[in-house]
Symmetry: C2
Subunit: 109 residues, 2 copies
C-alpha cells in the first residue's frame, strides 16, 4: 500500500462473523483495525491468534477472559492481549469496541 487512505466508517461494508456482532475493518500494511458493535448477551467463543491485539472498550460493559483471567471492562478500558493468548468475550450490554492487531489479520480481509 504505502499510500494515504481515507475511509468513512459508516460507508464501509459491515460483516457479522458471530450473530449479533457487527464489525467493520480497516487494514493498513502492518495493522488491522476492527470496529465492533455487539448486541447485549453476545458470546465470543474461546480463540487465539499469533497477532498482538489491543482492545479498546468505547462504550458498554464487556467481559473479557484471557488465559483464564476474567476482566470486567467499561468505557475507557484498554487491554493488551499477547500473541497466542486464549481469550473469549461476552457483551453484558450493547457495546462498542475497537480492536487493533499487528500484523494484519489476513483472515479478516
Amino acid at each position: 500500500m504505502s499510500k494515504m487512505m481515507h475511509y468513512d466508517l459508516s460507508r464501509l461494508e459491515t460483516k457479522q462473523p458471530v450473530k449479533g456482532a457487527l464489525v467493520r475493518f480497516v487494514h493498513s500494511d502492518n495493522m488491522t483495525m476492527a470496529y465492533w458493535q455487539f448486541e447485549p448477551g453476545v458470546d465470543l467463543p474461546e480463540h487465539s491468534h499469533p497477532h498482538e491485539q489491543i482492545s479498546n472498550i468505547m462504550g458498554g460493559s464487556f467481559e473479557l477472559t484471557i488465559d483464564g483471567e476474567t476482566l470486567e471492562l467499561e468505557a475507557g478500558s484498554v487491554v493488551i492481549i499477547p500473541p497466542n493468548a486464549v481469550h473469549s468475550g461476552r457483551a453484558r450490554t450493547g457495546c462498542y469496541v475497537i480492536d487493533v492487531f499487528h500484523p494484519v489479520r489476513e483472515d479478516y480481509r
Copy 2:
C-alpha cells in the same frame, strides 16, 4: 512484554506535547496508541516519522494535511498515514482523536 496488560485510560498520566493537546499513551510490544484531546484551534506543525499511523477521528472537526493534500475530517473518519509522509493537523473544534502507530513510538515513552 508479552503479557496481558489492562489500563483505565482515566488513570493514565496525561502529557501535553503541544499547548492545548492533551494525550495519553498505551504501548504494546509492536504498537503505540495515542488518545488525544485537542482544544479548538490547536495547530500541529508539519512532521514525519518512519512509523505507519492510523488516525481515528472520534469526535469534532479535524483538518489533516498529508503530503500537501488536506482532508476535512469528522467523527467516523479513519486515515492511514504511510511511513515518512509529511503531515500536519488543525483542530477546527474540540476533538477526540485516537492514533495507532507501528512500530512502537519510542519517542513517546
